[in-house]
Amino acid sequence: MSPVSRGFHRKREAAPADRVPPGQYVTRDFPVLSAGPTPHTALDRWSFSITGGREPKSWTWDEFRALPTEKLTTDIHCVTRWSKLDTTWQGVSLDVLLAAVEYESRYALAFSDGGYTTNMPVADLLGGKAWVAFNYEGAPLGAEHGGPARLLVPHLYFWKSAKWVRGLRLRDTDEPGFWENYGYHIYGDPWREQRYAGD
């Protein structure tokens, strides 16, 4: 049994309970958490592609930025227990991107520069639940936070919102990505506290 260190407690901001999933605390910080070095892909080399459908589909940066975009305000929840409320983003909805592809697959593996991957059901990318986001707080998304563009799937734990995203591989099975392979939950719903496999 570890002795209690008198007076030590976790930093936390006050927040309405219905905005904070179980086991989370609210922060005003935006921690930079990465599993590897920050990639710096030049925009003229950047592309977003969806494979695994009837035909592969790919957008250059200019083509991507010509697509209709949305602005959104949302809460984000990291499995390391911090939550950040009312974050603002601008991005292209996955509804728009997936509409350009004919597919039957039910699962997707998102992949990023640097090799990071994470998986989710396609259903969790549709219906206004997911974006490829390029602006944060009204300015271009910084490289340390996943710029030029990251996946944003705020209803799942934030490790699913892959930084430096470059595309999706559509698949028939829910193949675990980087952290899922090491025991993080295959789905990751913060409201059911699905942090680890078996939760």
Binding site: L33, A35, G36, W179, Y182
Partner: protein
């Protein structure tokens, strides 16, 4: 270059827990590019979900440590050798 990146010194305690000995002086060989390095000089990332140790030459993942349910899951598959 990433300001938050650490080196093998920072995980001396974790490595001792996993291997039962001080590993900061151990010599690693990257399974991808063959680069040889003292563990203390490897690039270490700690995003909170786990600890990722990478080759400084080619950025390949050499080791991953994840603590779950009180146990540490260890993946050394990126290493060609560790001695």
């Amino acid at each position: 270059m990433d300001e938050n990146t650490l080196d093998g010194n920072a995980i001396g305690g974790l490595l001792d827990e996993v291997f039962g000995a001080d590993m900061t002086m151990a010599v690693s060989t990257c399974g991808s590019c063959g680069a040889v390095s003292v563990v203390a000089e490897l690039a270490v990332y700690r995003p909170g979900l786990g600890t990722v140790v990478r080759c400084r030459s080619c950025d390949s993942v050499l080791m991953v440590f994840v603590s779950l349910h009180g146990a540490t899951c260890t993946d050394l598959m990126g290493l060609a050798s560790l001695s």
